[in-house]
Amino acid sequence: MADEVTLSIHRGTQESGSMVEYKVPRQPGMVILDAVHSVQAMHAPDLACRWNCKAGKCGSCSGEVNGKPRLMCMDRVDKYPAGETITVRPMKTFPIIKDLVTDVSWNYEVNKKIPPFKPKAGTDWKFSQEEANRIQEFRKCIECFLCQDVCHVLRDHSKKEKFGGPRFLVRAASLEMHPIDDDDRLEVVRKELGVGLCNITKCCTEVCPEHIHITDNAIIPLKERVVDRHYDPVLWLWRKVTGKG
């Protein structure tokens, strides 16, 4: 029926879960998160789902809608063909706690490995908007972890021990490119975050709801800086194929 939305939502834990179908009334402008909230209110009060701002600013409600990584609060229901069931699953890269909620604590551990901002001694704190622009792009990140979710190195190869993921390469870049910063994080970027494992397929850039040019503006410049000190075969190949850099 056109005035209804049918959702198939993951219910259960990592060990035992299944897809359960729900129908809720369709509202103008409805987003997937609204539909999930309607399911909670009408059918399943205990359906677990994270959310906060409901305006694409906090990055809490990440999930996979019809298999695509999305912020549920910014994903319009009317984008999907009427009458077709919409599937909503938790992010695949992280262990499921319950229903749509995953354990993302690993990300917070990676963040701790990155040395904090260290201002130059005696700085007058003056820098231009143009200098600011470069890192403000990275600082738009809302930590939705969709880039981590979609990254092959983490999603398909489970290399969480060796690779920090796009989110934290972006964070490292925001510090490395800060005009007042005086630290050197390249060894951390190479060893701890494993920048060399990124094979620049740009999947992270494609899913970023903040439209950060993760690969081009953060990861490749970091790879270049690292390669100035160490040899990186992927970057060598990239240069060979594209003639760039």
């Binding site: 509202q27 103008p28 402008g29 409805m30 987003v31 609204d34 909670q40 209110a41 399943a44 009060p45 205990d46 359906l47 677990a48 789902c49 994270r50 959310w51 906060n52 701002c53 409901k54 305006a55 694409g56 600013k57 906090c58 990055g59 809490s60 910014m74 319009r76 706690i97 319950k98 229903d99 909620v101 993302v104 604590s105 917070y108 963040n111 701790k112 904090p116 901002f117 201002p119 704190w125 003056k126 820098f127 231009s128 908007q129 200098e131 600011a132 890192i135 403000q136 600082r139 738009k140 990140c141 809302i142 930590e143 510090l175 800060h178 910063d181």
Partner: protein, 603 residues
């Protein structure tokens, strides 16, 4: 040995928005073993949604600014009901707190000579809001978060504190549960800082997230602390009104700060006829003058015109919008029009207001570089809260501190935009510092009363008991609809009395709530428990609103439309000593003459 997981800390901070993070950083810097306990993941608290900026008299965009002018603006904004010492400390210390954020890595937008750029905002005499486009709150929370994780603070994410524990008169810690497992957890702490934010989930149309369920306000009241100014709720003038999915979602005041204008359906800029007596002479009186002001702001020059009346303080603008809608001059979906497209180029709009641009494009199918937005008031901020010592942020309960939105006094009857982020920093720091000092002054941990813990545990499991019972979402929805209608922007004795009766019925229904499911990550159960906070605090608001028989700031009485000088000498204090919530009138603290002279200037 212990039945429940238990932790010992010098300082426990509840809430990890701007105030909680800043308090935890400071407590930890003073050598206190510090726990930061938050309901959501770190970095997702309400601060992240703040858009426009942080107010501080840095005087980098206009050299005439000073703490004295900021103080005066804040007091006028609050209709002089503010705790003057808090307003003074806030104005004096905000610039250092903002510079400190920069030193911790925050990247504010820049002036031409490379300093911190400041933008105009409602009620602020000079451009005063340091900002990052329209995502200042994100910049602030991320900066504090990244500072905090290297500071040795223990963070307890997705852990909800339900009740404060007491040892005699003083605070002894908190009782709560892990959202993931539903297991109970006890914190034994020498000092507790509440930084739990606001109460906006009690209203239907609200810019607030699920977290804003009045936890801190209720826990403090239950623990015997005084609340103050509870009748003053800020309805932000510009929330989205269409489609229903985004009704109430915030549109930053920065849109008006960047030149946006409000129009009714006849295309009239109605704010010109809505300038209150107190502000007459301070605002442009013709469109030509207002346009000249915008032109100078765009050109980065000192304006020779007065500012547009769209930049009046929030309570004034919200009421004016409501009047237009009621008079039948509203937009198709019951708001008015906010137009920036005719004032700035598309490139400027996308650069200065990227969040607003995407929000409207993706959620409302409106291109704000071409068409006006439809806007209307949305419940946004609680001025009232825990009554604190202005220097230390300690409540009337020894060892219990409060900072940010959960505390009261700083903003009086109405908060100026931008004064919230600065409030979080200034008083978050103070609360952390004095909580750490309080803890240092104690030789041993306060003792925990196991009987009290057991009664909290029983109470918390209540919603699993009934075989038959009501859905928590239904009760919550009914509460929100009722508060919106009866205790909204404009109130009357009849409505408020009706609300009190209704709250009694809702309390009974909440006693029969059934959450369903099990204790693991169960939002139905969490909401069932939150109903108690929301119903009690809604009653506190309603009783205060009934007592104050005048209109002032965020409290408007249809039956008492005038501002009354006598009421301007008194705050209302709320207490719950037994089963009843009671209201007491207390005189304002007398203001020193030099500050009084600042406030009186040119009035």
């Amino acid at each position: 040995m212990n039945k429940y997981e238990q932790h010992e800390y010098d300082v426990m901070v509840v809430g990890a928005g701007g105030a909680g993070l800043r308090a935890a950083i400071e407590a930890s810097a003073h050598g206190a073993k510090t726990a930061l306990v938050c309901k959501s993941l770190l970095g997702k608290a309400h601060t992240v949604m703040a858009e426009g900026g942080v107010a501080a008299a840095l005087a980098s965009a206009d050299a005439r600014d000073s703490w004295q002018v900021h103080f005066r603006d804040t007091m006028r904004g609050g209709n002089f009901l503010n705790q003057w010492r808090m307003a003074q400390l806030h104005a004096q210390e905000a610039p250092d707190r903002v510079r400190e954020l920069q030193e911790w890595g925050a990247v504010f937008d820049r002036t031409k000579d490379g300093g911190i750029l400041q933008r105009n905002f409602g009620g602020h005499t000079y451009p005063r809001l340091a900002h990052v486009g329209d995502r200042t709150g994100l910049e602030m929370i991320r900066t504090l978060q990244d500072k905090g994780i290297h500071q040795g603070i223990d963070v307890f994410m997705e852990c909800t504190i339900r009740s404060l524990l007491k040892d005699g008169d003083r605070v002894a810690g908190g009782f709560g549960y892990w959202r993931e497992t539903g297991r109970f957890v006890l914190f034994n702490a020498k000092a507790v800082v509440l930084a739990t934010g606001g109460i906006g989930r009690c209203w239907e149309i609200s810019s607030n997230s699920w977290e804003y369920t009045a936890d801190g306000h209720a826990m403090a009241m239950w623990a015997g602390a005084d609340l103050v100014d509870m009748e003053f709720i800020q309805f932000h003038p510009t929330g989205m009104v269409w489609p229903p999915s985004v009704r109430g979602t915030l549109i930053t005041e920065g849109v008006r700060g960047e030149g946006g204008v409000l129009k009714n359906k006849d295309g009239e800029r109605f704010m010109f006829r809505n300038i209150p007596e107190m502000f007459r002479g301070d605002y442009a009186e013709t469109e030509e003058e207002a346009d000249r002001w915008v032109a100078s702001v765009i050109a980065n020059e000192r304006p020779d015109a007065r500012r547009p009346p769209e930049l009046l303080k929030r309570d004034v603008v919200a009421r004016a919008i409501r009047r237009e809608v009621i008079a039948g001059r509203g937009s198709p979906h019951g708001g008015v029009f906010l137009d920036i497209a005719s004032k700035r180029t598309p490139e400027e709009i996308v650069r200065k207001l990227p969040g607003m641009y995407h929000q409207f494009k993706e959620l409302a199918d409106v291109d704000i570089t071409k068409d006006p937005m439809e806007v209307g008031p949305t419940c946004h901020y609680m001025m009232g809260g825990v009554r604190v010592n202005p220097e230390t942020q300690e409540s009337t309960v020894p060892g219990l501190f409060a900072a940010g939105e959960v505390s009261g006094g700083m903003h009086g009857a109405n908060r100026l935009g931008g004064n919230s982020l600065s409030d979080l920093l200034v008083f978050g720091k103070r609360a952390g510092e004095f909580a750490a000092k309080h803890a240092k002054g104690m030789d041993s941990f306060p003792s925990i009363n196991q009987g009290e813990v057991e009664s909290f545990a029983r109470e918390a499991l209540g919603p699993f008991d009934p075989a038959e019972g009501e859905n928590p979402y239904t009760i919550h929805e009914d509460l929100r609809t009722m508060m919106q209608r009866r205790v909204g922007i404009v109130r009357s004795e009849d409505d408020l009395r009706f609300a009190l009766e209704e709250l009694g019925r809702l309390r009974e229904r909440a006693g029969r709530v059934k959450s369903g499911g099990n204790i693991q990550y169960n939002p139905g159960w969490h909401l069932a428990l939150d109903l108690w906070n929301m119903i009690d605090i809604s009653e506190a608001v309603t009783r205060a609103a009934l007592t104050r028989t005048e209109s002032r700031g965020g409290h408007t009485r249809e039956d008492f439309p005038e501002t009354d000088k006598e009421w301007g000498k008194r705050n209302l204090v709320i207490r719950k000593p037994g089963d009843e919530i009671i209201v007491a009138e207390e005189p304002l603290a007398p203001m020193p003459e030099d500050l009084q002279a600042l406030v009186n200037k040119a009035d």
